[in-house]
C-alpha cells in the first residue's frame, strides 16, 4: 500500500466494533426463544445466561431434553501422523490409550505444572483430534508442535455445537432419525448423515445426565437445530442458558476453568495458579507414559509433600447457597473459599465446590464452617453454617451410563 487510506475507507474496513460480540451460528433461533434477553459473554460470543426461566431451564435438563449451544467453546483441529505423540506431550493423560471414536476429559499444564486449561479431547480418527476447551491456546499449541508431524488449527468459528442433555435426549435423537445412536456408550463418538453432510455425535456432556454433544459445520447449524426441535417436541425439548447448566454441572461435581480455578495464563497473582493435584485432577496425571509438559514440576511438588491446595465437594447445612463464601475451620481459622454453590434440587442438599488448604480437605473432614452473607432487603444476614467434605459428584444418575438408554 503506497498511500494511507482515507478515514471513510479505513472505517469501512474496521466494522468489528459495531458488534463487539460474535453471534453464534444458532443466534436466530436463540433470539427467537429469548424472552429474558439475558446474555453474557462467552469467549467473545453473545451467549444466553437464561432464555425463559432459569429454574425451569434447569428442570428441562433433569426431566426432559435441554439444548445448550456450545458453539462458543474453543475448538482446535489437531491432525497428522504425529498428532498422538504431540498430544501425549501436551496433555496430562495418556493419549495413546484414547481409541479412535472415543472422547476423554483431560487437562494440560505449563512448565511449572500449573494448569493452563481443561477440556475434552475427541479422537475422530487415528490421526485426527478435536480439542474443546474454555480458553484460547493456539500459540501454546503451535509452539508445542515443534518437532512433531502435526497441524493445529482453530476451528471455533467453523464448527457449530449443541449439547442435548436430559433423560429424553436419546429419544429425541432416535425420533430425529439418528439410527444407531442407542449403541453409543458414554464417551463414544459416531457420525450420522445430515443434509448431505454429516453430524458428529458424542455421548458426552457437562450435566452428569444422559446426554450428547453434536457438531456440524456452521452452514448446517440451523437445519440441525430445526431437525432436533421438530423431533423433540413431544419429548419436551427446550433451549436453555448457562445459569441452568451451571446448576447441573455443580451437582455433577464438574469444574469450570476460571470459575473454580484460575488458569495459569490468566492468574496475575503468583499464588493463584493451580497444579492438577490442587483441583482434583490427579487422576489424569499419567506418570507411566513419556514426558509431558509440567511433569518435572509435578513430580517435584509431590516429592516435596504435595501442592498446598485441594479442591473438594462440600455439603453445607441449611438451604442458602454459599456462593463465594469463606470457609473456616473451627469457626475462626480461614482455610478456603467456595467457588460454586447451589441448593441441589436433585440431591436435596446444599452443596458447594470449594478450594481448601490441603490439611483441611480430606474426605469427611468436619468442624468446617462456611460464612454466608445473604442480602436481605439491603441488609446482610450473616450465617455461619456447618460444612463437611463429601465426595463428588453430588448426584449419580444411572441413566447417564445406561446403554442403550431408556426410551420415553
Amino acid at each position: 500500500m503506497s498511500t494511507l487510506l482515507d478515514p471513510a475507507a479505513r472505517l469501512a474496513l474496521q466494522q468489528h466494533f459495531r458488534k463487539p460480540k460474535l453471534d453464534s451460528p444458532f443466534q436466530p433461533r436463540l433470539e427467537e426463544l429469548s424472552l429474558l434477553q439475558d446474555w453474557y459473554d462467552w469467549a467473545g460470543y453473545k451467549a444466553p445466561m437464561s432464555l425463559w426461566d432459569e429454574e425451569l431451564e434447569y428442570f428441562a435438563i433433569r426431566s426432559q431434553a435441554a439444548v445448550f449451544d456450545i458453539s462458543p467453546m474453543v475448538k482446535y483441529r489437531i491432525e497428522g501422523s504425529g498428532a498422538e505423540a504431540f498430544l501425549d506431550r501436551v496433555m496430562l493423560r495418556d493419549v495413546a490409550k484414547l481409541r479412535p471414536g472415543r472422547v476423554h476429559y483431560t487437562a494440560w499444564c505449563d512448565d511449572d505444572g500449573h494448569v493452563l486449561d481443561d477440556g475434552t479431547l475427541f479422537r475422530l480418527s487415528p490421526t485426527r483430534f478435536r480439542l474443546c476447551c474454555q480458553e484460547r491456546h493456539l500459540p501454546w499449541l503451535l509452539d508445542s508442535a515443534l518437532g512433531f508431524d502435526v497441524t493445529v488449527e482453530e476451528e471455533t468459528e467453523a464448527v457449530a455445537g449443541l449439547a442435548l442433555q436430559g433423560p429424553t435426549s436419546w429419544s429425541v435423537l432416535d425420533a430425529a432419525g439418528f439410527d444407531g445412536a442407542e449403541a453409543l456408550k458414554p464417551f463414544d463418538i459416531a457420525t450420522f448423515p445430515h443434509e448431505g453432510g454429516e453430524v458428529t455425535v458424542s455421548r458426552t456432556g457437562f450435566t452428569g445426565d444422559l446426554g450428547y454433544e453434536l457438531f456440524v459445520p456452521v452452514e448446517q447449524a440451523l437445519s440441525l437445530w430445526d431437525r432436533l426441535f421438530a423431533a423433540g417436541a413431544l419429548f419436551g425439548i427446550r433451549a436453555i442458558g448457562y445459569a441452568a447448566l451451571n446448576r447441573a454441572r455443580i451437582e455433577a461435581g464438574l469444574i469450570v476453568a476460571n470459575a473454580d480455578f484460575v488458569t495459569a495464563e490468566h492468574a496475575i497473582r503468583a499464588d493463584r495458579v493451580r497444579m492438577p493435584d490442587e483441583i482434583g485432577l490427579s487422576f489424569m496425571v499419567d506418570m507411566k507414559k513419556g514426558h509431558f509438559n509440567g511433569r518435572n514440576a509435578i513430580v517435584k511438588a509431590r516429592v516435596a509433600g504435595g501442592a498446598p491446595q485441594v479442591l473438594v465437594g462440600l455439603e453445607i447445612e441449611g438451604n442458602v447457597p454459599a456462593e463465594h463464601a469463606l470457609v473456616y475451620h473451627g469457626k475462626n481459622r480461614e482455610v478456603g473459599l467456595v467457588s460454586g454453590a447451589i441448593w441441589s434440587p436433585l440431591a436435596k442438599r446444599n452443596i458447594a465446590i470449594a478450594s481448601l488448604r490441603r490439611a483441611y480437605g480430606e474426605l469427611g473432614r468436619d468442624d468446617l464452617w462456611v460464612e454466608i452473607y445473604a442480602m436481605r432487603e439491603l441488609q446482610y444476614q450473616k450465617m455461619m453454617k456447618r460444612a463437611k467434605v463429601v465426595a463428588r459428584p453430588f448426584i449419580k444418575l444411572e441413566r447417564r451410563m445406561a446403554t442403550p438408554p431408556g426410551r420415553f
Binding site: L146, G290, N293
Partner: protein
C-alpha cells in the same frame, strides 16, 4: 552395564577439559567428536598447500589458570607461559599506528603524553572493575532459587570486593557497568585509535556496535581473561590453536579419557525425565549415568534430545536464544610477510587491529542490523607464521583475521555476498598494507554460514549464543538450563553456550565437571 560413567558429546576444548577433570576424579569417560579430529573451533588446519592456520580461534587470552594447573597443560605441551606477550596494535592507514605494549597496553607507544596518562588511569579502572566481575565469570552462576551456601558465599565475596572499592569507586562501577563502550571511552580518552581498539574489542563476536547499550560488558569479558598470570595478557600459540587443544587432549588421554572421533551423536536418549544414552548416527548406543553435552545448547535440546522430552516453555526459550554470528574468519596464504604502513617490521608478531575509531566501528555495524555486511569492515589480524615459521613455506606468510560485520542472515545470501565481502576486506587490507593483494597465493573466507556448517555452530556464532547481559550468568543459555544443569536428570551442558561464554577458556567445561562431581567452588 555401560563401559562408561560419563559420555561427553563434543570434542571441542570445553568437552576435552570437562572429560579430563572427570577422569582425574576417577570417572570413566568417553568423548564423542563428530569431526575427524578434536579441537572444535580450536584446531589448526592446512588451508593451502603447506600453509597452516588456527581454523577459528587464533588468540589465547582467557585460558583459565586453574585449567592449566589442574590439567598440567604445560607438561602436556602447552607453550611455556614465559613467552613474551605480544603487543596489540591499532593500525592506521595514515601510517601512525598506536602500540599497546605489554598486557593490554601497560604502556602506549605513539600516543601523546597526556593520552598516555589518561590511559593509565582508565586502564587501571577497567582492570579494577573487571576484577570484580572475574570471580563471577569463573564459578558457577548464582541461581535465583535455592542457592547453596557456598554459592551465596561466593556472591557475597563479590559484594565484599565491591565494598573494598570504596564508596566513590563502587558508585562508578555500578554507573558504568551497563554503559556502552563508546561513551565510556569518550569520558576518559581522546585518541580515536585507542578508543577504536577498545570499541572493537568490546564488540568482537557480538551483534553490537560500540554505541549499543551494555557494549562495555564485552570489554570487561575480555579483560577478565588472563595469560601467564597477567590480567589482559594474550598469546598467539605456536603451532596454531591445535597446540592448545592438543595439550588438553593429551591431558585428557593421560587421565584415561577415551576419545572417539568421527563419532557423530544423532540423539540423546531420554526416559522418564532422565538422559540415559548417546546414540551415534550409525545407531550405536552408548549408555552412561551422566551425559554431558559440550556442543551448542540449541542443537543439544532441539535436535539431540528433541522437544518431546522437554516442556514447551523451555523449548520456546531455547529456540529464542539469540545466536546469529557477525564474525567472519579470513585466511590468507601470502608469498611474503606483509608490510603495514608505519608498522615497524619487528611488530608484526603483534595482534593488529583495524578499527580507526569508535565511529568507524559503529558505521561498520550499522548495515549488519539490516542484513548487510560492512562495506569497510573492522578486523583483528595476526601473522602466526612470524613467530612459528613452520606454519608457512620458507619466506611465505600466513595471515589470520577475524572480520566484522558479516551478518549470518545476509540479505543477499552468502553465495552472492561472499566474493563481494572478500573484496571489501581486501580493499581495507590494501589500504593498510599496500601491495598485499599481489602477494596472495590463496585466500579463504569463512562466513558465519561456513562456520555454522564446518564447526557445527548454529548461526556461526562462536559463543554459541550472543554474549550480552540478557544471556549471561543465570540466563545463559536460558532459564532451565543454567548452571550446567538441564531439565533432564543426568544431562549436563559444558560448552561455550553455558556460563560464562566462549573463547578458549575451559571454564564451562571445568565448571560442568565440578557440577557433575558435586565439587563446590572455592
Amino acid at each position: 552395564m555401560s563401559d562408561f560413567d560419563a559420555v561427553v558429546i563434543g570434542g571441542g576444548h570445553n568437552g576435552l577439559v570437562c572429560a579430563a577433570f572427570l577422569a582425574k576424579a576417577g570417572r570413566k569417560v568417553v568423548v564423542l567428536e563428530a569431526a575427524g579430529e578434536t579441537g572444535g573451533g580450536g584446531h589448526t588446519r592446512e588451508f593451502a598447500p603447506d600453509f597452516r592456520v588456527s581454523a577459528l580461534a587464533h588468540i589465547v587470552n582467557r585460558l583459565h589458570p586453574e585449567v592449566v594447573r589442574a590439567l598440567e597443560l604445560e607438561r602436556h605441551g602447552l607453550a611455556a607461559s614465559s613467552v613474551r606477550q605480544p603487543a596489540s596494535v591499532a593500525l592506521s592507514a595514515a601510517g601512525d599506528p598506536l602500540v599497546l605494549e605489554g598486557a593490554y597496553g601497560e604502556t602506549l607507544q605513539g600516543a601523546a603524553p597526556a593520552e598516555q596518562a589518561a590511559w593509565t588511569e582508565v586502564r587501571a579502572q577497567l582492570f579494577r572493575y573487571a576484577g570484580i566481575l572475574k570471580p563471577l565469570l569463573a564459578r558457577r552462576p548464582p541461581s535465583l532459587g535455592g542457592m547453596a551456601l557456598t554459592e551465596a558465599a561466593g556472591l557475597a565475596m563479590t559484594g565484599l570486593s565491591l565494598k573494598r572499592l570504596g564508596r566513590e569507586d563502587m558508585r562508578d562501577f555500578l554507573r558504568v557497568l551497563l554503559m556502552n563502550v563508546a561513551d565510556f571511552a569518550d569520558e576518559g580518552l581522546s585518541d580515536p585509535r585507542l578508543k577504536g581498539l577498545l570499541a572493537f574489542d568490546a564488540v568482537l563476536g557480538s551483534h553490537m556496535g560500540p554505541r549499543s547499550p551494555t557494549s562495555l560488558l564485552g570489554l570487561y569479558y575480555r579483560l577478565t581473561g588472563e595469560h601467564a598470570a597477567v590480567a589482559g595478557g594474550q598469546m598467539i600459540p605456536a603451532g596454531g590453536m591445535a597446540a592448545v587443544t592438543g595439550a588438553i587432549r593429551k591431558a585428557a588421554e593421560a587421565a584415561g579419557v577415551t576419545i572417539r572421533t568421527a563419532a557423530e551423536v544423532s540423539s540423546i536418549e531420554a526416559r522418564q525425565g532422565r538422559a540415559t544414552a548417546a546414540v551415534l548416527a550409525g545407531g550405536e548406543r552408548i549408555a552412561a549415568g551422566t551425559i554431558i553435552s559440550a556442543i551448542n545448547p540449541r542443537t543439544t535440546f532441539l535436535d539431540l534430545v528433541g522437544p518431546s522430552h522437554l516442556d514447551t516453555g523451555f523449548v520456546r526459550r531455547i529456540g529464542n536464544i539469540r545466536m546469529k554470528g557477525d564474525a567472519a574468519k579470513l585466511h590468507l596464504a601470502l608469498d611474503r610477510a606483509p608490510e603495514f604502513t608505519g608498522l615497524p617490521l619487528d611488530r608484526r608478531n603483534a595482534r593488529l587491529v583495524i578499527a580507526p575509531s569508535p565511529d568507524h566501528v559503529e558505521r561498520a555495524f550499522n548495515p549488519a542490523k539490516y542484513g548487510e555486511f560492512s562495506p569497510e569492515p573492522v578486523m583483528e589480524i595476526v601473522l602466526p607464521s612470524i613467530n612459528d615459521p613452520s606454519l608457512a613455506p620458507a619466506g611465505a606468510c600466513v595471515l589470520s583475521a577475524v572480520v566484522q560485520y558479516a551478518p549470518y542472515a545476509l540479505k543477499e545470501g552468502w553465495q552472492v555476498g561472499k566474493p563481494r565481502f572478500m573484496e571489501a576486506i581486501l580493499s581495507v587490507l590494501e589500504a593498510h598494507a599496500p601491495g598485499i593483494g599481489r602477494t596472495i597465493v590463496h585466500a579463504e573466507l569463512l562466513t558465519p554460514a561456513d562456520i555454522e556448517r564446518e564447526f557445527r555452530m548454529p548461526g556461526g556464532h562462536w559463543h554459541h549464543g550472543e554474549l550480552q547481559a540478557d544471556q549471561m550468568l543465570m540466563s545463559r543459555p536460558a532459564f532451565g538450563a543454567e548452571g550446567y544443569d538441564t531439565p533432564l536428570d543426568g544431562l549436563f551442558l559444558a560448552g561455550a553456550g553455558s556460563h560464562p561464554g566462549g573463547g578458549i577458556s575451559g571454564v564451562p567445561g571445568m565448571n560442568a565437571a565440578k557440577r557433575v562431581l558435586g565439587i563446590r567452588d572455592r
